[in-house]
């Protein structure tokens, strides 16, 4: 056991954890932040995607001891009232079915758009290929990312 101070969604959180415990389980079981999902535990499905200093990573494969003072962002930090453009595009395109993979999908999409505000279909496919959706929402994800990219280019209008 060791003590860690983690910067998550802009706030500091102190936890006592085994150094090898993956960030996923620290978030879910120790900090009760259950928006980040467990899907495979081996970097294969993307359900556990969070941001580390703005980059999408698989939290199931990141030991808490490796986080250090890097900034963690989880789905809860994207916005809790769905004001983020990606969330709005997801609602507009009615992407989720069961919804279980969607936290991870949104985290990957937000990271993509930060890096590349004008992604092509090909860019989207490459950035999103690590995220499985068993419900098959892929075509809608592609549309929603294009929509979010367009929304982000508009001067900030009123939210809808």
């Amino acid at each position: 056991m060791a003590s860690y101070k983690l910067s998550i969604n802009g706030a500091m959180h102190a936890v006592e954890a085994d150094p090898k415990m993956p960030l996923l389980w620290v978030l879910r079981d120790l900090l009760n932040m259950t928006g980040t999902k467990y899907g495979c535990g081996m970097s294969q499905c993307g359900a556990c995607t969070v941001h580390l200093n703005g980059n999408a990573i698989r939290s199931c494969s990141m030991p808490v001891s490796a986080v250090g003072n890097q900034k963690i962002t989880t789905i809860e930090g994207i916005s809790s009232d769905n004001t983020n453009a990606v969330q709005q595009a997801w609602i507009a395109e009615q992407v989720p079915q069961c919804g279980y993979c969607q936290s991870g999908q949104i985290m990957s999409a937000v990271a993509l758009l930060k890096r590349n505000p004008n992604p092509t279909d090909r860019d989207i496919d490459l950035a999103m290929q690590g995220n499985i959706c068993r419900c098959g929402t892929y075509p809608r994800i592609r549309k929603a990312i294009h929509k979010a990219a367009a929304m982000l280019k508009q001067p900030p209008a009123k939210s809808f």
Binding site: D18, T34, G41, M42, C45, V95, P96, Y100, Q129
Partner: protein
């Protein structure tokens, strides 16, 4: 079907925020009645009747619905409020919906979300419930004003007096309306007057699913809850011989280690439960566990041997489900004859949310929370197993991170209850992805032998199929294994079978210890591939265009309309020959779906899917966007089972343990999917499953059109055709 049930009434009162100042009505099924009866909550309470599903309108005019179906992605959370809002004449934002706790009799027998039945099973009762509440509000207003009810109408949450334009909002009327007796007859709106039903309105469960707030089973936490994982025998029938937990018990966070037996059909799956104070500690400790399994006394199958046996079995006479005329004699005389064998694989459900269940056993109460497709079944099952009265058992449904049939089963809930009982504390049992993928039950693989004779003018004169596959029904305790499989025709349009004079559909049940279970669209998921690939082969043998060939066999107005739509939307008539187009039509759960696929070869020789067009005829429907989403999802799931994944067995164990071996379609594998919905007044059919079966044959028929290569075995590799 009347039953006093204090626990559920309490739950109901809480969930519906029911007060005497609200109008609460719902329906129930009197014993042996075909029609439901609608009662107010007060009357139901006096009579001791538990209502099936109910709506409650409070003084602010808000409408609460207690949902009777699981929400696993299929959109019940949207379809049910849309139906109620339409007939009640309120806007959809006034309507909210909550899960109904599991109760066996409360929902007219079955609360399982399966068979694509959410809308199909209850639509009339839901519409009538909404309309009845509306009429009672109108009557209450008329009384207040002292005018005839016929002069009043309801619109947008208000009752309006036509001659004077006086208005009263529902909230002001609920108290009066609650005292009225629900009318026996109510007029339902005509489809042309719908403003909510039939519209692609956004789902109410979307917002919490884009910000992490939706609570799935795995997200459920209780005070003092512990976490368990179970090392279950990797062999389907193995037993624990010995185990060594000396190291495990010293590992950080570990609280308990003990043996559990989980019932799976009529067998017991043995395992060692490890309970710890968080999921990861339990998983880590499990790695240190040493178990010796007793694997004697049953067959250690592997896939090759299993499929050889299924193929051998096809030589035996089948157990007949349906026969007519004289197949053999007609086949012998046919102008053209064709026969072919098709193979389909075993599959894991692989829901994105692995199985899990929270259980809390206290003295004489069992409470479970989880991603559960059949809460009433779980309640009854737990009552029987633990010899407790039904009312002491409460089953809470969370959102389901996928279900596809797997989460309708009772094994994982029973196991969680056993573990909570043993440790005397609330516990969450977490299945790792590996557990979820290797333990089954699986979709059964199947081998088919199809034979048909065609006349000179292209009509099928004799048609026979034999299926060798495990029969799911044969697994239950005391099952009669001489029973035929009742699903051998599933997937074939009923009008196709009706058009046959000489036919036979039968099966040879495969004996195997592998547990099998419903998987999205059940046997239609494999039948569809065999039957519609065969139809394509027959069309080519008859030298007819596949769509024209279908037209010759499906002589029915409704089917014709669907085929016309498919023809139009694909540009079927103007397509080039051998340009990579294939089509298929199947029917299951009372919906017919036609799909067409266009494939091409890339410069590197790999196949690419260019277009997917689907036409769904599910009759009367509620929300076209949900239907489109369900068809899209069905197609992606079918694509995986056709081209990327399969569960193999060696030495009696499942081989594929996680997504590095069980490959899922990824975003780049899936092009845009065009979905069209037929408009008609037919009875509603299912929408969650029927889009799946026609995809694999349409794809393979397209590949044949492009390459001349016939695919008769799934899965196949798109890069190696």
């Amino acid at each position: 079907m009347q039953q006093k049930n204090s626990i559920n009434r309490r739950a109901f009162l809480k969930l519906s925020s029911f007060t005497s100042a609200a109008l609460t009505i719902g329906f129930y099924f009197p014993a042996l009645a075909e029609e439901s009866t609608i009662l107010t909550a007060a009357t139901a309470e006096d009579l001791g009747i538990v209502l099936n599903a109910f709506i409650s309108i409070d003084k602010s005019g808000k409408v609460n619905i207690i949902n009777h179906r699981a929400e696993m992605g299929q959109g019940a959370f949207q379809a049910v409020p849309q139906m109620i809002a339409e007939e009640l004449e309120v806007s959809l934002d006034k309507v909210s919906i909550a899960f109904g706790p599991g109760h066996q009799t409360k929902y007219g027998g079955s609360q399982i979300t399966g068979g694509s039945s959410t809308v199909r099973g209850a639509y009339k009762h839901l519409l009538r419930t909404g309309a009845t509440a509306r009429e009672m509000l109108v009557e209450a207003a008329a009384k207040k004003w002292g005018v005839p009810a016929t002069e009043c109408y309801a619109l947008d949450g208000k009752v309006i007096h036509r001659p004077t334009n006086k208005k009263l909002v529902y909230g002001e009327l609920v108290e009066e309306a609650a005292k009225l007796t629900p009318p026996k007859q109510v007029a339902l709106k005509e489809r042309k007057n719908y403003t909510i039903i039939g519209k692609p309105l956004p789902r109410q469960d979307t917002p919490p699913k884009v910000n992490g707030k939706a609570e799935f089973g795995l997200d459920k936490k209780l005070p003092g809850m512990l976490y368990a994982v179970v090392e279950r025998c990797p062999y389907f029938l193995g037993k624990v011989k010995t185990y060594n937990d000396s190291v495990v018990k010293t590992m950080p966070g570990v609280k308990h280690v003990f043996k559990v037996q989980m019932p799976v059909f009529d067998t017991l799956r043995e395992g060692i439960a490890i309970v710890a104070d968080n999921t990861w500690s339990a998983m880590q400790a499990r790695k240190a566990l040493q178990v010796e399994w007793d694997t004697t006394g049953f067959e250690h199958l592997d896939t090759a041997a299993l499929y050889n046996r299924m193929k051998e079995d096809l030589r035996k006479p089948g157990l007949s489900q349906r026969t007519g005329g004289n197949f053999d004699a007609t086949y012998d005389k046919a102008a053209k004859k064709l026969e072919a064998i098709y193979e389909t694989p075993y599959e894991a459900h692989a829901c994105m949310e692995p199985l899990n269940c929270v259980a809390d056993v206290k003295d004489d109460q069992i409470t479970v929370w989880g991603p559960i497709q059949g809460p009433d079944w779980i309640q009854r099952d737990l009552a029987e197993r633990f010899k407790m009265p039904m009312e002491n058992i409460t089953v809470h449904m969370t959102f389901l991170g996928g279900g596809f049939g797997r989460k309708a089963f009772t094994d994982y809930t029973t196991e969680a209850v056993l573990i909570s009982k043993e440790i005397k504390a609330p516990v969450q049992v977490v299945w790792t992805r590996e557990d979820d993928m290797t333990q089954g039950p699986f979709r059964p693989g199947a081998v088919y032998e199809c034979k048909a004779g065609i006349s000179d003018n292209g009509r099928i004169t004799a048609f026979q199929t034999k299926m060798a596959a495990q029969n799911m029904d044969h697994q239950w305790p005391h099952a009669d294994k001489s029973n035929f499989n009742g699903s051998t025709t599933e997937g074939l349009p009923e009008v196709f079978i009706n058009g046959l004079d000489h036919y036979s559909f039968s099966d040879i049940p495969t004996e195997s210890p592998i547990p099998v279970m419903w998987w999205r669209s059940v046997y239609a998921s494999t039948n569809g591939f065999a039957y519609e690939s065969f139809m394509d082969e027959l069309a080519h043998a008859a030298k007819l265009d596949p769509l024209d060939f279908h037209r010759l066999q499906l002589r029915d107005e409704r089917a014709e309309a669907l085929m016309q739509m498919l023809e139009e939307k694909t540009g079927w008539r103007t397509r080039e020959k051998n340009s990579g187009w294939g089509m298929a039509i199947t029917e299951c759960f009372k919906s017919m779906v036609g799909e067409a696929v266009k494939v091409s070869k890339q410069p590197d020789g790999k196949l690419k899917i260019d277009r997917i067009v689907a036409v769904m005829d599910c009759g009367w429907y509620v929300n076209p966007d949900i239907i489109r989403a369900q068809v899209e999802g069905s197609i992606v799931m079918a694509l995986g089972a056709a081209t990327t994944h399969e569960t193999h067995f060696t030495d009696g164990k499942a081989v594929e343990t996680n997504f590095h071996q069980y490959h899922m379609p990824r975003i780049m594998d899936v092009p845009d999917i065009e979905v069209y919905i037929m408009e008609n007044e037919e009875k509603p059919g299912g929408v969650g499953e029927p889009g799946l079966p026609p995809f694999a044959p349409a794809l393979c028929n397209a590949i044949f059109d492009l390459t001349g290569k016939r695919i008769r075995k799934l899965p196949f590799n798109m890069n190696e055709v």
